[in-house]
Amino acid sequence: MRKRAEADAKTFGYYLVPDPELLQGFLEGLKTNEERYGYPSCPCRLAAQKLEYDRDIICPCDYRDPDVAEFGACYCRLYVNKEVFEGKTELPTVPERRPLEKQARAFQAVSIPKEAKPAEKASAPAAAKEETEEMVEIRPKMWYCKQCGYVVFRDDPPYVCPICKAKREMFAEIKMKIDFSV
């Protein structure tokens, strides 16, 4: 677990939280979740215990990139940026960015449409999806690194390119259109 986190931090230009006690705690939480659910979902979030609903909170979660970019750490604070790692800025408090309807699933409080396919789910926010399916903005998006050509499918471009280490600004969006009429 530790090796995986270290490798991921290195690849994507992040650092692991410097406090050894915190780090150990996060890794143990992830390990527990992996043993329980079969995947290492965020130790600080309630899992729905169904892979299709928890996919966005499997560590590293979908919200890490925007959270580290905005606050300097991810939601649970396993991953931090260089400034926090070096102690130049304090470990911040990071508000939950995960959409409420996704959080609510973990509490079994919303009726979950049976026919929802993973591909459709990816186009959340799902507020008025059915009526406006063709109009809906497709999330995640496709991005390519203008420096090396690496292509990635996610909400926002990565913090740094995992291949050539180019910064986020080097990523450009590839416009897509999905035809739901088939």
């Binding site: 915190l22 705690g25 992830l30 979740n33 979030r45 309630l46 079994q108 409080a109």
Partner: protein, 94 residues
């Protein structure tokens, strides 16, 4: 619902913590209360049944809380989200 009780000399306020058993910040909140001799109750929400989870969610939302852990409810009213020492100290008059 499995509510665990932790005794403490300071019982001025009724304290309930909704926590996750895997969450470091939840553990730190529990430890903080213990270190300050505050008696409290806690529920590890991730170990609850689906039924209880729904009840807990309703309780949190009815009190104006968000679904981020830990959630500390003081005297059934004041909701503190996250391990916020300053807010806990203020609410518990420590």
């Amino acid at each position: 619902m499995d509510i665990s009780k932790v005794p403490g000399k300071n019982s001025k306020h009724k304290v309930l913590v909704y926590a996750l058993s895997t969450c470091v910040w939840c553990k730190m909140t529990k430890q903080f209360l213990k270190d300050n001799n505050v008696g409290y109750e806690f529920v590890d929400v991730d170990l609850c049944t689906d039924n209880d989870k729904a009840k807990i969610r309703a309780d949190i939302v009815s009190k104006g809380g968000t679904l981020s852990y830990p959630i500390t409810i003081v005297d059934g009213k004041k909701v503190i989200t996250g391990f916020r020492k300053d807010q806990l100290k203020e609410a518990l008059e420590l």
